[in-house]
């Protein structure tokens, strides 16, 4: 009797898990395996035969200046994401948490979060129009306050396009980090702040010495999330510039996409993609290890 219910429970568990496991296996795990396989072959995506290339594709990618430039742009992109989206989200969350009217807090949080619920394509198109040289809001605004000389063809300039797209992306993302930080700040014991205020600590000192340290977990989590999110620049970049002008906004994901679908080089495209996947996993796992060890040490 007992074994029968035991085995029927195992069968039920298996049935309840099966659909989700199957979906992950077919649509995430198989493509990953396919990517590993393709990265070891020379293939144009069309020909019936593939030629084995072993590690040639990796060697070619890592010695391709275009890839290395895309990689350094991805690092810049990540730094912008961290500074603007995460930093901005943290600062504004600290400010909002100081507001004593509950309704106002909720209202401001909701407003800032609105960009995050929009499609990256919508964000890309809105900001492309905003940066538009003639009808764009930004140049119009600069003209209206008499700063015509600062007006630029933002997305048409190889120097400005990457920061311009980065700002659009940070605008979309910062409300997300803000909501996480705000929840974490509100979980901090208010008695700490009151005690510090009685001791004469100003807002900045309290932010620096109470809020930031008690957000240790939330901040380290967000840094990992931000790292993963920053690798996802593809949608914003593609809808705004397609990697241009003159490849100046070509992040690694864009490089891989072009390598495959413009140049027909599936092997190096797969090798480039897997290279950043490995970097992402290593950094995420390494960071978590370091955080756990630091937490044990304290």
């Amino acid at each position: 009797m007992r074994t029968r219910t035991g085995s029927s429970r195992t069968a039920l568990i298996a049935l309840m898990l099966l659909p989700s496991l199957l979906l992950l296996a077919v649509f995430l795990f198989l493509p990953l395996l396919r990517g590993i396989q393709l990265s070891f072959y020379t293939w144009d995506g069309v020909a019936p035969v593939m030629h084995r290339a072993w590690l040639d594709n990796y060697a070619r990618v890592w010695s391709d200046p275009a890839f290395l430039q895309a990689l350094s742009r991805t690092v810049i992109w990540w730094a912008m994401h961290l500074g603007l989206a995460v930093g901005g989200g943290l600062l504004l969350a600290a400010l909002i948490s100081e507001i004593r009217w509950r309704r106002a807090q909720t209202l401001f949080r909701s407003m800032v979060f609105v960009p995050h619920i929009m499609s990256l394509a919508v964000v890309g198109v809105i900001w492309s129009q905003l940066y538009h040289p003639t009808i764009g809001l930004l140049n119009g605004f600069l003209g209206a306050i008499g700063l015509d000389n600062l007006a630029e063809p933002w997305l048409g300039s190889t120097a400005l396009a990457l920061p311009a797209v980065g700002v659009a992306s940070a605008w979309q993302a910062y409300g997300f980090y803000l909501v996480i930080f705000l929840a974490a700040i509100q979980a901090v014991d208010p008695a700490l702040h009151e005690a510090a205020a009685i001791d004469g600590a100003g807002p900045w000192q309290r932010f620096r010495n109470i809020t930031v340290p008690s957000l240790h977990n939330a901040i380290s989590l967000v840094v990992v999330l931000a790292f993963i999110n920053a690798l996802k620049g593809f949608g914003t970049v593609w809808s705004m510039t397609e990697g241009g002008p003159d490849r100046s906004t070509e992040l690694v994901a864009v490089y891989a996409y072009r390598q495959a679908f413009s140049l027909g080089d599936i092997g190096t495209a797969s090798a480039a993609g897997l290279s950043i996947a490995v970097i992402a996993v290593v950094i995420t796992v390494g960071f978590n290890r370091w955080r756990d060890r630091a937490a044990v040490g304290r």
Partner: protein, 274 residues
């Protein structure tokens, strides 16, 4: 005391300005949807003097947005229903039926969340082509469900785990089996989890851009985000119509967010902080 109040008022004004500035691009896009090019440039943030609804007619008919809108709606609704149907049983199994041994499988779900999909876009295309799922709305829908599975299982598992075990025990005394207990006792209590999973999978599917770009190429299969970017390239002379397209793409996301905001924020914070 007075300095405290003054600091508080300054703070509210400062935050209001930042939050307002964040909304400017959205408001500008919404107003511009009712203007023509001259008005967009001349009165960028003013209310439209004459509400040009014809911009919407232009995108809806000659811009093909009627097709895109239906495609996006069908895909998003199907993805939402499937995600809920797949993740609730799995979340219950992890939350109530299994013991420590299966934690390994659960953490495998979480690990998948850290894999950047962008890194395997190209192989994903060739894998799906081999399964005849490219240029297919079914293929796009299935891969979107797969993408929503890890976070969905996570939310559902945490919710079911926190429900009291006494409910299960008293149902068992009444002679109900595990499936009956899940279906008739626990699932009806799981409305908050279902809503949280539903909201984020709906928004994810409605907003999805890059997989649609990768996998769909027929005009009649395109979703709204894909159609919008393409429209931007083609109709650069009619900005009002482009902004009308932006508004059409935004409305369902904003409606869902406004109506179900609480479930959404709860799911988000749960996903990020636990």
């Amino acid at each position: 005391m007075r300095t405290v109040t003054r600091w508080h008022h300054t703070l509210v004004v400062l935050v209001a300005v930042i939050a307002g500035a964040t909304m400017v691009p959205v408001v500008w896009a919404a107003f511009s949807a009712f203007k023509n090019d001259t008005e967009i440039f001349g009165e960028p943030l003013g209310l439209p003097g004459h509400w040009r609804w014809e911009n919407f007619r232009t995108v809806w008919t000659s811009g093909n947005f009627s097709t895109y809108f239906v495609n996006s709606a069908v895909i998003a609704i199907a993805v939402t229903a499937l995600t809920v149907a797949v993740t609730c049983p799995a979340g219950y199994a992890f939350g109530k039926l299994t013991t420590g041994r299966s934690n390994g499988i659960f953490y495998a779900y979480l690990l998948v969340m850290t894999l950047p999909g962008e890194a395997i876009m190209v192989p994903t295309f060739y894998q799906l082509r081999e399964m005849s799922l490219v240029d297919s709305r079914v293929g796009l829908g299935l891969i979107l469900v797969a993408g929503a599975v890890p976070l969905g299982v996570f939310i559902a598992r945490n919710f079911f785990r926190d429900l009291p075990n006494e409910l299960i025990e008293s149902a068992r005394v009444d002679g109900a089996g595990d499936w009956r207990i899940f279906r008739s006792v626990m699932l009806p209590l799981a409305k908050p989890a279902v809503l949280a999973v539903g909201v984020f999978s709906f928004l994810g599917a409605w907003n999805e851009y890059q997989l649609a770009l990768l996998l769909l190429f027929s005009q009649e299969k395109r979703t709204i985000p894909l159609g919008l970017v393409q429209f931007q390239g083609q109709y650069s002379a009619d900005s009002g119509a482009l902004f009308a397209g932006i508004v059409l793409a935004m409305i369902p996301s904003i409606l869902v967010y406004v109506v179900l905001q609480r479930s959404f924020t709860r799911g988000l914070v749960a996903g990020a902080l636990r």
